[in-house]
């Protein structure tokens, strides 16, 4: 066969692969949207769940709130450590055995099965600390597998800053630290923000790591009580909290009525997909906005 013919076949093959990927994605999203959207109502979003074991549908308000709140808690822990670690890896880590070992550790950490992280969290954040199932425990478990990703995102964003940019600052008699905070971080910011939001999407949909850490249930939440130390306050980080993904899993394994389970999980799945999609779009817009602000202020 001659090279031109092979070239044509290769082109066709790669087009076919691309079409396959797009069709799978559209099929999947389409299925979830078409099945899910009919269950969505104001009540579904704002009411607490019904006794689904008895076939009552109810809403998903506490679970939705828990998902967002857990995400915020996780980000509060992950962002400072992740940015610090990323700066270390990009600017201070010397290329030696220790650094290599550190990288290996982070790769292993980020590829651990999330159910294993859940079990580890159960031992450490639930039993050892004596907290029981808590949002805080869930946030720490999510931090474990979000952190390596965050460190890599920050490291890559900082390494992508042109070397001349850094040296230009240094040659003005600016210290290394000032160069990092005043020149390199702002230039790297769009990349960091985009990476952080994409990581947030992953956290938002996580279930396995949370089954044994944040728990499967939520106490009756009083949405008028904003005192974080009160037991029924939604803001209390030391209360159990089922997130939306965990709730989907739970309804499907507990409910006696397959019809109820289908309604609850269909609606929840739709909301979940929408939020993750919004995160992705938001990440792009925000990244672009920050870039434009920085370059034409």
């Amino acid at each position: 066969m001659n090279a031109k013919l092979i070239d044509r076949f290769a082109t066709l093959f790669f087009y076919a692969v691309a079409i396959l990927i797009i069709c799978t994605l559209i099929g999947l999203l389409g299925y979830i949207v078409i099945h899910g959207i009919s269950y969505i109502s104001w009540e579904f979003l704002t009411e607490p769940p019904g006794s689904y074991i008895l076939g009552q549908v109810g809403g998903i308000a506490p679970q939705l709130f828990n998902s967002f709140y857990l995400l915020i808690l996780t980000m509060i822990i992950t962002l400072p450590i992740g940015i610090g670690g990323g700066i270390y890896m990009a600017e201070y880590a010397k290329p030696n055995k220790f650094t290599k070992f550190l990288r290996l550790c982070m790769e292993v950490m980020s590829s651990l099965p999330s159910i294993i992280i859940g079990l580890f969290g159960l031992l450490l954040f639930v039993q050892y600390t004596g907290w029981g199932y808590t949002l805080a425990g869930g946030a720490l478990a999510l931090t474990i597998f979000n952190l390596p990703l965050m460190v890599r995102v920050v490291e890559q964003a900082i390494t992508a800053v042109p070397r001349e940019q850094k040296e230009a600052a240094l040659s003005l008699g600016v210290t290394h630290w000032q160069t990092i905070t005043k020149i390199m971080l702002p230039v790297a910011l769009p990349g960091i923000v985009t990476g952080a939001i994409l990581a947030a999407g992953r956290i938002f949909g996580e279930a396995a790591a949370l089954l044994f850490t944040a728990g499967l249930s939520s106490p009756n939440l009083d949405f008028t009580d904003w005192d974080p130390t009160s037991v029924s306050s939604p803001l209390n980080p030391f209360r159990p909290a089922a997130t939306l993904s965990v709730y989907i899993w739970k309804v499907n394994s507990d409910s006696l009525s397959t019809e109820t389970a289908a309604i609850v999980s269909g609606g929840s799945a739709f909301i979940l997909i929408c939020v993750v999609l919004l995160f992705t779009i938001f990440a792009r817009l925000l990244g672009r906005y920050i870039y434009r602000r920085l370059t034409s202020s």
């Binding site: 003005l172 008699g173 210290t175 034409s296």
Partner: protein
């Protein structure tokens, strides 16, 4: 305020690689010295060693001495940050910070403690004038520096360097990424800055070295082959290798 920079029996190693071999040269005030030679000959390494910009390269090691006035640059007790401030550096690619034109210039002085707006205004105007850029940008000082052309950006970078009042200017192929007209701007600028500064310029362009420098040093394989007044070096080189390089037999 400009100083003599003296390099004495200076060696640079990158790990096993002997990048500079026994370099001795001095750079005089109010003089432009051009460093020429083929790629990889060590001219940029020398330039970047003068303000310790190579410190960030792993496995970098030096022997011998570099003195700014009386001060030993590679003395472990020296304040490297302050040293770099005294030696302004300009790179091949123009690298404005992603800030406004004004803030680019004011950046250095602000870091070093000048906060008065009036004072900063003066510095911005003065250095932009020195860099022959004032007339072109005075109406858009608060617009992004990234909107300037390459040649304008390079002059802005030079103005930014001047704003921290260095004693020495180190220019690493400052015009090689620019078009001929911008190059001419930069060359005229270098000639006018000679009145006040000690200038060291690395260049690939031999015609440029001829046009702007008083002294020229020819580098090959990490050594200085020949060093002389520019006119003499170009018209009657002593070393056969210099002659071959200048006549384009290798490069």
């Amino acid at each position: 305020m400009s100083q003599t920079l003296t390099v004495d029996k200076f060696h640079v190693y990158y790990g096993e690689k002997h990048a500079l071999d026994n370099i001795s040269i001095s750079f005089q005030p109010k003089t432009v010295t051009a460093l020429i030679g083929p790629s990889g000959c060590g001219k940029s390494t020398l330039l970047r060693s003068l303000n310790r910009m190579n410190d960030f390269i792993p496995m970098f090691r030096t022997e011998g001495s570099v003195r700014l006035g009386e001060e030993e640059i590679y003395d472990s007790k020296i304040d490297v940050v302050n040293l770099r401030k005294r030696m302004g550096m300009v790179f091949q690619q123009p690298v404005p910070f992603p800030l406004s034109i004004y803030d680019n210039i004011a950046y250095g002085p602000r870091i070093h403690g000048t906060t008065q707006k009036k004072k900063l205004d003066q510095i911005v105007e003065k250095t932009l004038q020195q860099a022959h850029l004032w007339e072109e940008v005075k109406d858009r000082l608060h617009k992004s520096a990234l909107g300037l052309s390459g040649g304008q950006q390079q002059r802005l970078v030079i103005a930014r360097v001047l704003a921290v009042e260095p004693e020495i200017l180190l220019l690493d192929e400052p015009a090689s990424a620019l078009d001929p007209i911008s190059t001419e701007h930069i060359e005229r600028l270098i000639l006018s800055l000679k009145e006040e500064y000690t200038i060291v310029v690395v260049t690939h362009n031999m015609q440029q070295a001829k046009r702007i420098s008083d002294q020229t040093a020819f580098f090959l394989h990490g050594e200085i082959v020949e060093r002389n007044e520019t006119q003499t070096l170009f018209h009657s080189p002593i070393d056969q290798r210099t002659n071959h390089y200048l006549s384009g037999q290798f490069g």
